[in-house]
Amino acid sequence: MLSPINVSLESLNLITLAPMLIAVVGGLIILVLDLLNNKLHKSLYVMLTILVLFIDFGAVLGLNVNERGFFDVMLIDGISIISQLMVIGGSMMFIPLALTSKKFHEYSYPEFFALFLFMIAGFQFMVASDNLILIFVGLETASLSLYTLIALHNRANSYEAAVKYFTMGALAAGFFTMGSAVIYALTGSIELYKVAEVLATRVNETGLMIAIFGSSVLLLVAFAFKISLFPFHTWVPDVYEGASAPLAGYMSVVPKIAAFVVSIRIFGMYLDLGVEWVRWTILILAVITMTLANIMALVQNDVKRMLAYSSISHAGFIMAALALDTTEGNTSIFLYYALFMFTNLGAFTMLWISRHKKRIFDTRYDHPYEKFSGLVQTMPMAAVIMGIFMLSLAGVPPFSVFWGKIYVMQAAVNAGYIWLAIIMGLNSAIAAYYYLKLIVYMFLKDPVQDAETVSYNMSRSLMVIIGFATAATVGAIFYVQPLISYLYYMISASGY
């Protein structure tokens, strides 16, 4: 006999779903508004988006640590809270970049903002669950929105970028589902905590381990693609180049945070089970990624592409921290991205400000180095600020990324991976060259452009963003402590 379905609302713990719902509803409201009046200015949508995100942020803050909800598919642990906060925070910082002084195609569509909010909801689902289905759905929701957002930039390169990203993303999705299927086949479950339980009892079976081997490789491919590890990083430079600068900056931080969270959940599980070769695979991949991306960044002619490679390299850096499988290592992932976010926000905004509809300096690139030559003479403040961002990225103290870097390296040293710390150090040294290259152009060369060229898109809101990013980058030393202690607390609370 079928017993009547009886679900108590309380046990659903719907509050865990609230943040995502807020984002989705926000997106819908924007769409409805457009239906009612399609002459509304983008600034309204921007502000609405920020407000929605603000509420979203508050809702996440209100969550209790270590809860499950909605048929236990939602998992609200420390990681999920901090990653949601970072996703939302990052989005709040990047969306005002729509407020340029010049018009850009995509921002005239309210759909842009709706999609943006849906994407955030997707990311939130991704990080707030240990159910592979939900992770997959969240991942795809976010990715599909992201592809569209990229394409909305409405130029040949954007379409090309979107197609490349999309196709590779589809392949990665295939790998992800196949990996999940293997896991399912092995354990009969797709809830990670159950998977872990099952695997823990059978960890000595050779056949099983071979199968795990296969599944973890498939999953690793999928997430290496998202995180952009070598050799799955090939989309990054092209997509960053094709996408608008704000979106590129956004992609260098937010989707990666989400992907990292899932990686922590999946690979952290393997590492906890004592599957050493996962660690080595990740470490080797990470080392290759940071080194090769650095080396390729050396020879770039375009600042945006350089930043793309640099973000690959930074991702490799962080991936190594993941392999450490210590609380410090996991803390460092979030700390690094939090600090990295401010700097990247600033750097990409600077690029955004200098963006023209037409390519003035180079037929191929939007932001060739030459564009910035002699900037210190025409716009000293801008040059100094951009210089600070570059130094921060290079890991020069006391700017924000340095503190992330030192924390990662400290984590590596503490875990006994001194060689890794040394490789990280040397990689930072290589990386310094291409960041310096921009500084060299800005400070040491004579100007070939007028101030207007570089401040084409300048508007008050962008200045505020830049100011904020600068303050956050320079003053990192003052907020690193609370940040660390909060992150550390949340992560250790969720058992990683």
């Binding site: 020069v396 030192i406 400290q410 150090g425 040397l426 930072s428 310094a432 400070f443 030393i477 003052f478």
Partner: protein, 508 residues
């Protein structure tokens, strides 16, 4: 004014920030005034410094990132005190004598920031703060070399930056490892150097850590074979850049050895005596020879800097108070003398836009004042007694003689080889007939140039004749350092090698 060190560090930075709004034409006056105030502040530091005490003074500590054990922790002892004063002095004089007119405002602002970082390095007692200023000092220097330098300036500045940056990252790993050990032993995170001093490390750890720190410091010093950035940096840098680079930035490396390597790794330091001494010997002899082959006056002085830094390195590893004090004193003397020499070369360069010796000859008759001051500095550079150059060099060689007579004798050839290349410069530049028509019209030093050099001449002679006010506080701190090393050393070899001064035992 217990927080005078913080004032010293941040005053120039704040002044630099405000400097952005100063009008271009008044920028230099502003800069010189700020530097002068800073210099007076540093004199005040000396004045209120208790010269009899060997420990850290004016200590300030503000926790910044307690979870990582990082705090703003500064203090000064006899060793750092005078390096700080030299830094402020050389910045002031370098700035006052500056003939640069292009982008003067940027230059002034950059110099003020540079001053902050330099003083920060010498007062930092927290490894991360030390590292912070250490790295930050590269940036203004990069700009100075790159923006006002010669034709190869970009190459030179990037080389300078990347080379030192690479080295210091290795050092950073070393620091992190020390912090890790400190944590695993005490359960507390700390980057405070004074806390680290208490660590007794096993010898193999000491060796690895010594190596890590060594790379960072050695590149900065610069020790052979890491010295090749310096001829480019000096060759391309504008005068002020060379002055500060030679006078202060290089001292950061040797200062690092005193502050970190020696007290933290006494056993490793003792084991490193021979390798370091060999490298120092190569620096002394080999670069002195290279200096002799140079055609460009500035390059001669650049290579001579490396050679003199070899002497300083040797003294640091003498493991006795004579050598160490001498070495620290030599840091000051080299700072002042090479700074002055670079200024002099800069003055002639401004007049003739060349630094090649072959372009000159017989300048003594058209520029007598210039020649006299150059001569004084030259004599100080080759270590003539009663000039500042002698005291340090003598003490270093005296100190190292106890370690190894043979090495000392080879190192002592520095007094010969130094004379060889410096006198060559003197001869080809100032002596001989005045053949070149262009040189006949040269003007002697003007008032600004003369008055910026005269204080240096005065110091060169004052500290040569009566070094006691400076040497005594240095010596006190050095003795305390050696006492400490001796107590801390694990191996018998190290204990035997580290020679505690008799006079300091009584103090204890």
């Amino acid at each position: 004014m217990e927080n005078i060190l913080s004032i010293l560090v941040f005053f120039p930075a704040v002044a630099g920030l405000l400097g952005f709004v100063i009008d271009k034409d008044s920028a230099k006056a502003y800069g010189v005034t700020v530097a002068a105030i800073e210099f007076l502040l540093s004199l005040w530091l000396w004045f209120s410094f208790d010269t009899a005490s060997a420990g850290m003074q004016f200590v300030e500590m503000i926790p910044l990132i307690p979870d990582m054990g990082i705090s703003y922790y500064v203090g000064a002892d006899g060793i750092s005190l005078f390096i700080i004063i030299m830094t402020t002095l050389m910045t002031l004089i370098g700035m006052a004598s500056m003939g640069e007119t292009k982008n003067i405002k940027n230059m002034i602002v950059t110099l003020l920031f540079l001053e902050m970082t330099m003083i920060g390095v010498f007062v930092a007692l927290d490894a991360i703060i030390f590292y912070l200023f250490w790295e930050l000092s590269l940036v203004p220097m990069l700009y100075i070399i790159g923006a006002w330098g010669g034709p190869l300036r970009v190459y030179a500045s990037i080389k300078f930056f990347l080379y030192t940056f690479t080295g210091s990252l290795i050092m950073l790993v070393g620091m992190l490892f020390v912090a890790y050990i400190y944590h695993s032993l005490t359960g507390v995170w700390s980057f405070a150097i004074t806390d680290w001093y208490a660590l007794v490390l096993p010898v193999d750890y000491q060796l690895w850590l010594f190596a890590a720190f060594f790379i960072g410091f050695a590149i900065k010093v610069p020790m052979f074979p890491f010295h090749t950035w310096i001829p480019y940096a000096h060759g391309q840098a504008p005068t002020i850049g060379s002055v500060i680079l030679a006078a202060v930035l290089l001292k950061m490396g040797t200062y690092g050895f005193v502050r970190f390597s020696l007290p933290m790794f006494p056993d490793a330091s003792v084991m490193a005596i021979t390798p370091v001494a060999v490298l120092s010997l190569i620096m002394i002899v080999y670069t002195a020879m290279i200096a002799y082959a140079q055609k460009d006056i500035k390059q001669v002085i650049a290579y001579s800097s490396v050679s003199h830094m070899g002497i300083i390195m040797l003294g640091l590893f003498a493991m006795n108070a004579e050598g160490l004090s001498g070495s620290v004193f030599q840091m000051l003397s080299h700072g002042i003398v090479s700074g002055a020499l670079f200024m002099l070369v800069g003055m002639i360069y401004e007049r003739r836009h060349t630094k090649l010796m072959s372009e000159f000859g017989g300048l003594a008759s058209v520029m007598p004042k210039f020649a006299v001051i150059f001569g004084v500095m030259l004599m100080a550079s080759v270590g003539l007694p009663l000039t500042i150059g002698f005291v340090g060099e003598f003490l270093v060689l005296l100190g190292f003689y106890q370690v190894s007579p043979i090495i000392t004798i080879i190192a002592g050839t520095s007094i010969i080889l130094g004379a060889v290349y410096m006198l060559r410069v003197m001869k080809f530049t100032f002596f001989g007939p005045l053949n070149n028509e262009e040189n006949k019209k040269l003007k002697d030093l003007n008032r600004r140039e003369t008055w910026s050099l005269i204080p240096l001449v005065a110091i060169v002679i004052w500290l040569g004749v009566y070094p006691k006010p400076v040497l005594e506080p240095i010596d006190n701190s050095v003795k305390a350092l050696l006492n400490f090393m001796d107590e801390k050393a694990l191996t018998k070899e190290a204990k035997d090698m580290i020679r505690v001064a008799k006079s300091s035992k009584e103090v204890k």
